[in-house]
Symmetry: D2
Subunit: 285 residues, 4 copies
Amino acid sequence: MCRWLAYSGSPVRLDELLYRPANSLVLQSKHARLGAETTNGDGFGVGWYGNVPTPGLFLSTEPAWNDRNLREIAAQLESGHVFAHIRASTGSAVQKTNCHPFRHGRWLWMHNGLIAGFPAVRRELTLAVDPLLFPEIQGSTDSEILFYLAVTFGLEADPVAAVARTVGLVEEVGRRHSVVNPIQMTVATTDGETTWAFRYSSEARSRSLFHSVDLSTLRHQYPDNPALHVLSDDARLVVSEPLGDLRGAWREVPESTCIVVHGGREELRPFTPVAPATAAADGVR
Amino acid sequence: MCRWLAYSGSPVRLDELLYRPANSLVLQSKHARLGAETTNGDGFGVGWYGNVPTPGLFLSTEPAWNDRNLREIAAQLESGHVFAHIRASTGSAVQKTNCHPFRHGRWLWMHNGLIAGFPAVRRELTLAVDPLLFPEIQGSTDSEILFYLAVTFGLEADPVAAVARTVGLVEEVGRRHSVVNPIQMTVATTDGETTWAFRYSSEARSRSLFHSVDLSTLRHQYPDNPALHVLSDDARLVVSEPLGDLRGAWREVPESTCIVVHGGREELRPFTPVAPATAAADGVR
Amino acid sequence: MCRWLAYSGSPVRLDELLYRPANSLVLQSKHARLGAETTNGDGFGVGWYGNVPTPGLFLSTEPAWNDRNLREIAAQLESGHVFAHIRASTGSAVQKTNCHPFRHGRWLWMHNGLIAGFPAVRRELTLAVDPLLFPEIQGSTDSEILFYLAVTFGLEADPVAAVARTVGLVEEVGRRHSVVNPIQMTVATTDGETTWAFRYSSEARSRSLFHSVDLSTLRHQYPDNPALHVLSDDARLVVSEPLGDLRGAWREVPESTCIVVHGGREELRPFTPVAPATAAADGVR
Amino acid sequence: MCRWLAYSGSPVRLDELLYRPANSLVLQSKHARLGAETTNGDGFGVGWYGNVPTPGLFLSTEPAWNDRNLREIAAQLESGHVFAHIRASTGSAVQKTNCHPFRHGRWLWMHNGLIAGFPAVRRELTLAVDPLLFPEIQGSTDSEILFYLAVTFGLEADPVAAVARTVGLVEEVGRRHSVVNPIQMTVATTDGETTWAFRYSSEARSRSLFHSVDLSTLRHQYPDNPALHVLSDDARLVVSEPLGDLRGAWREVPESTCIVVHGGREELRPFTPVAPATAAADGVR
């Protein structure tokens, strides 16, 4: 089990996102509240969009709660689009190439969950990745394969459709290998402008996912809360678990749902995987 | 808070001690049961006595649960005298020079607890270390200073007296700096033949400490338990918390007590710090 | 470029092999003499055979010259069969899963050199690995793929034939991708009893490789050299570069040669890759 | 031996300073040209001034040539005041708390060289550090002690006088311990606005030190060199060794000299240590 956070809005210092909140992501690295696993100490990663086209990545195999470089960088950097992830390995090695977010061009990707029976299906899923993308695979996680499958299926053109086909393929391959519930995931991906987040699992009992509500409403409700005045009106967070206890501040993303966040607006859509056969019948790729 | 284990007896493979038990030390690195802090992920260390005079040390800043080298080494090495420690930093840096056990010649030392108000008293305690030992100080922890104070006060000649004077000094210096309860500790030290372990705190509410009972009794009681047949009759463990749930296998070491383990016999003695004034009046050093 | 060492003979302490020699492997990690690249600071690994069936592995991403754990372990461990490798990455990540030696069951494998144009041929070579072995691939190096190809082609039954087919495949795939000289290698592999080492490159200008001569002859020649009395008569070293300057102690392994070391005897055989077509025509697998 | 770089001028991206030059600092980490030691692979550090009062620090124990996080951060961060240092340990542990630059408030400090006989004089020099600063000492290097001695002697008020007294003390203590040439150093320190760099050694054969010349002159001389157009007129570099081969671009800082860089102007002054007795006689602190 992992935990993650996706922020978009006016530029904020990273420590406001990662360290300041009562139930901050760095705190969750030691004591998560909602996960099956309370410790997320198998490395972490932060991706952020700055002044150059490619987002920056800071990845570490140390537990986030210990990493002094993270604290330093978070105190210096501002960004209006931030992905952060703390990892609890489900078996693969603790190494930077296994840390999220993963990156392809301007795109970032992070995942909480797993592909069940991954050793058995890894080869077949790896083969389904576009051969041109194959050399980019650096690590050994299910999450990275998931990412490159999504890119293979057109993430950059239509993220929701690409993820639907990715999940459809994982379920199809898994079931062929007698895996009962092939996938468990919350996933976030972004091109630096829009964020797409998905909550889905084959068993329909997915890892938790929440999004923040419109801040102007909250400020009206809690006029004296200083934390609410750091962020702009269009600031939005999508998170594995709420960063604080403020009543009304967080809404759960429903099962089998995709949430699209852009410019302070969020849209929720039902998410349904698309099986390979269907995809073929529809004439896609 | 940290957790530690001290083993003596016939040579056993290290993985029998570190990985096999139901509540193994490696497991405690992620989920300790008895401590104030459940995660001990700020590095670890193992010291063992082999065929050369100096004990070996394997120290790592990674969480023990993740370290593949530890698993490899533990599967290969046998020793009849093992110290192992998992760390939860109380503030000092996560670096190998801060990992326990510490070593001086044939001696090892490990500590769970803290010197309260250490930043305030660190300089004075450091100055009290024998100048000849000063160059050996490599890290920045209270535990290492405690060790070199004990060596300064004659650890190698009379461990109990040396620790009594060390604790007496720490309490005296702490109180002079208005620290209410200057020390909290369970400590183990060994020369490779005898193990001395101490449970003490200024407030008389010390970290937990247990020792294993005579194995022959246990085997009689549980004739079918295979774990009890790996170890020799003289095998003894002193541990921060029991490694399993076997009723009757573990006895708590009382408050303010020193336990001396040698050749399958353990002796418990009351432990009382010796204040510097008293030490001076007695004409010691 | 990397450097490696393969030892077999009576059990010796690892530090005799890794630190003691004048041009020791640890020294070569900072200042190799014969390589194109003088610094081999991108991690290292040691594999050794002890009292359990599976060989132990100690892998680290730190430069060998810095690693205090290596020094500690080398001072404690004795083994009669040791593989050691220092790495200079040719591009892939510095992580433990990319450190040599690689292991499969009782077998170890280490490599100096590279598969030219690896990003272009990586996918095809990866697909040629036996699907049952695929889940064992943990890293992202050409060397590991080389190993699993050799296991796929029967390393455990006939190492020389398996390596010949592996190299034949790599050359065939490389040439199909317009790679001029597809492979450059010295490779060592062992089952813990026999060592097979190969010196080969498509361009017939291979990385350096040497083996030690019969020690009894050397002792006769240098009766006063203490280093020659630590090792048994059947001790043999195969190394990327000589560990010292003793005249007559080292012989270069010729180009396109396999050396087989077993029980103090070495045998040199010409090594010729076997192209896939030939292999198929011969009815092999 | 270490290598360092101090930049001041208009804000530039860090990779322009660290990776772009022909003989960049990152390249020097593997193959320095002018030092006694060609490999500076024992960690590195970067300090930079951004939008918050305290400068940021990124410290790593990995060789700089390998560190992907350094490459990422350097591609994202801009700063008008940068200190960067690559380390070759002269004995103390490779850990982040031993990496330069060291920081105290807004001040940074980095050092190439050593205090000779440091184990013998370490205690006495440590005691000379202001007790209020003592808790800030985190590592075990001579360079950090040098820094806190300078702060003790008034670095923040008068850097040149403070360093003169620091060096005077080190030489006096060293000589009392029969150390022949107690200090060897190039040092740089800054408050984020002015940079002071020192080239000095007791034996008057100091490590190399260079500063860049006025860029407008160079641009006139090399109108077609694009590298010269990235930097502003007031940009200045002080470096252990030139970053390129451009004739006329670099001037050696003479022996026993302090160079003060502020706003595109540099001033060179003779540097003479001040012995403690003299300091006392002058009535200073």
